[in-house]
Symmetry: C2
Subunit: 418 residues, 2 copies
């Protein structure tokens, strides 16, 4: 039994409710049809309150937007630093951006904004800042760059498009309201424009199941529960994601890996349900391992069916993704979003969909890379997915408004120690 | 005093609450800061219930998604009919799509779906079908095509991109959950693929203020309340939007005009607040006319300031958009969405944002076109907005599942009468 943190408690609640609904659905879809006149059930004042009160604290030991239960909307914005930006310019940008983000996330209009109406309801906005490898060169701190902050090894199935490649900086904006999200991105793109230009944006979404507090596992566009195996308890976050050793400027940060994964819905949908479930090793309805139980039940990789064949294919996604027996550190915290763009004319595809796969860990070389190497070698899902973008960032530790005991702005610990 | 319909009542509620918050904000932004630890205020069970029970009835006198209070997300999908599709093929497609939409909107898996889990929570999904001019040719009913179902006149400031032009058919998907929306679009694009291909998709969003029931006026990306003047009461819908006269197949339908309006945030944001408000004639905080009152107060176009100048500029957006004195029919029902795409490389712009402007009326020639002609001639907002897409559709009347007294599928009244 996992310890019940506040977050785990809320997650458990919604998983129970959602699981019951899904189980009902798989036997008789119509039994889950609801009454048509539903407005009577909804208290408008309570609904108004839902987003208005929803603020994720900006300052803290770690940056927000990482262990924060995933909001409904993502805009992951990559920036290229201007050629002329040096360490001092970089520090000015980060100071400015930190102050912008702190205000936006707490419902205050950022400095220079003439539109306070756009920022009164942060709707769980988080803004998380990451540094690409080149930041350490710009800062004149090449010797401090963590070894893992470098391009990932090429995997055999990668079809990387440079348009989704490494950038100098990244800002991950997550929010339960798309208009607030749009405004926050717009404001910070503009406020940083003297120092950094937009290289790419990866917009994504999850089920809007009431926002952060419920935090049930979302579905991807293949219909799978996506994110079941991830850090949940504080202990798991400490073990898997937060950097616990090293110089002060590094500790309490983490490493972010971004992979853009294209999902071929056209060919996926030609599969029957059994084949879909065998490819991952989990059922589509509850996300339980094919050996039984619920979403969070341990899989029984030894179980055999009546023909003596493994119930969970050793090449299924879940079997390949689990840590190697002698490498329990091969786990990570996932925080991915779906994307769904208009089909590309001439592609012959009906959709342009996939996953903005985001994960956090202490060291990608020991966590993401060995896992991905196993998946690249053999994962039944590979027939329907393609990695088309890749980037790695160091996420500096969290901040405090007065700078006491923590960085006053993103990366201050690093940049002020030089 | 307007009559209080159920919808008006709920709108009034949220406007009051929102208005108070905004008024507080405009004097002291910090006074609207909320407590950081907010999850304690939220009952997870109530949040789960919010979307799960939210179904907009599919069948009815009129199609849903028109007078339905706007959901948070839009995907407006334009289709080109295949060259070989004739009247019989068109009828098969519409029958298929109607059945798909009816099931998706009520939380049942559509025929052929292997993913019932994706459709159990419709989250106020509506799917609304419209016919472009060529459908009447394909149907062999050219003589029945309404006169207004034709390209709009060219306006002098238009910079129309054919990529956002007229299509044969349109499906307007609106939903409070982006994953449900994505799945519904995907399903119907695929199910129609033998008959029609995607020509364009216009994805959009509004503030996620708790979904349809609250229905307060949303803000566009200029920060303006957008949609204050629109049909609200049943009487206004009857007067402005629903077609009341003509053959049976036509009556209870409406006309949809779609304009893609690019909004130049970069130059807009160089304006001070006063200039922004003068350009529309309304305040930014509450949306009230500059002559005072609240959002829904009548403007006083005769009012003069201390210098004898009109308080509301005669060239302001609201002054130009109001009906001509002798043409009270120049009103329409607006249902627009914001869009916000990554900036176009090389454009020199920091954003690629605007409005998917959608309006409904009885006759665009008498409603949209004269209004737009006045705006095109002189509207202070024109400096910051550009119309880049244009299309017109006839929206067939509503349906009933058994076809008794109403069409069993979209356009059956027209196609079965030929």
């Amino acid at each position: 039994m996992r310890p019940l943190s506040r977050r785990g408690f809320l997650t458990g609640l919604s998983v129970t409710a959602g699981g019951a609904a899904l189980a009902a659905c798989s036997t008789d879809v119509r039994s889950s049809t609801r009454t048509a006149d539903t407005t009577a059930d909804i208290d408008p004042a309570a609904v108004e309150t839902r987003l208005e009160g929803a603020i994720v604290p900006f300052d803290g030991v770690h940056q927000a937007g990482i262990a924060t239960p995933a909001q409904a909307h993502l805009n992951l914005v990559a920036f290229r630093l201007g050629e002329e930006v040096d360490r001092a310019g970089l520090a000015r940008l980060l100071r400015l951006w930190t102050e912008d983000a702190r205000r936006l996330c707490t419902g205050e209009a950022p400095l220079g904004s003439l539109e306070p109406e756009m920022t009164t309801v942060p709707a769980n906005l988080t803004v998380t800042c990451g540094f690409g490898p080149r930041v350490f060169e710009v800062a004149g701190a090449r010797d401090r760059r963590p070894d893992w902050l470098a391009p990932l090894p090429e995997f055999s199935r990668d079809q990387l498009d440079p348009a989704w490649g490494q950038s100098d900086l990244v800002l991950q904006f997550c929010c339960d309201d798309p208009t607030m999200l749009s405004h926050a991105v717009r404001h910070m793109v503009r406020s940083g424009t003297d120092y950094a230009g937009v290289q790419w944006m990866q917009q994504g979404f999850l089920r809007a199941d009431g926002g952060a507090p419920t935090g049930s596992t979302p579905r991807n566009l293949f219909g799978q529960l996506d994110g079941t195996v991830t850090a949940r308890s504080d202990r798991e976050w400490d073990e898997q994601a937060w950097i616990g050793e090293g110089p002060d400027w590094l500790v309490d940060g983490t490493a972010m890996v971004v992979r853009r994964i294209s999902m071929n819905l056209d060919s996926w949908e030609m599969l029957d349900r059994t084949s879909r479930e065998e490819s991952t090793g989990r059922t589509l309805d509850t996300g339980a391992p094919l050996t039984g139980g619920g979403e969070f039940t341990e899989a029984d990789y030894e179980a055999r069916d009546g023909f003596g064949l493994p119930v969970i294919d050793p090449d299924s996604h879940m079997a390949r993704a689990r840590p190697a027996a002698d490498h329990p550190e091969q786990r990570l915290a996932r925080r991915s979003y779906n994307y769904d763009l208009p089909p590309v004319p001439g592609s012959g595809q009906l959709s342009n969909s996939g996953l903005v796969f985001i994960c956090f860990q202490q060291d990608p070389d020991k966590q993401f890379t060995p896992i991905q190497a196993r998946l690249d070698e053999a994962d039944r899902l590979n027939e329907w997915i393609t990695h088309i973008g890749s980037a790695v960032y160091w996420i500096p530790p969290g901040t405090s408004a007065d700078g006491r005991g923590r960085d006053a702005w993103w990366g201050a610990g690093l940049l002020e120690s030089l």
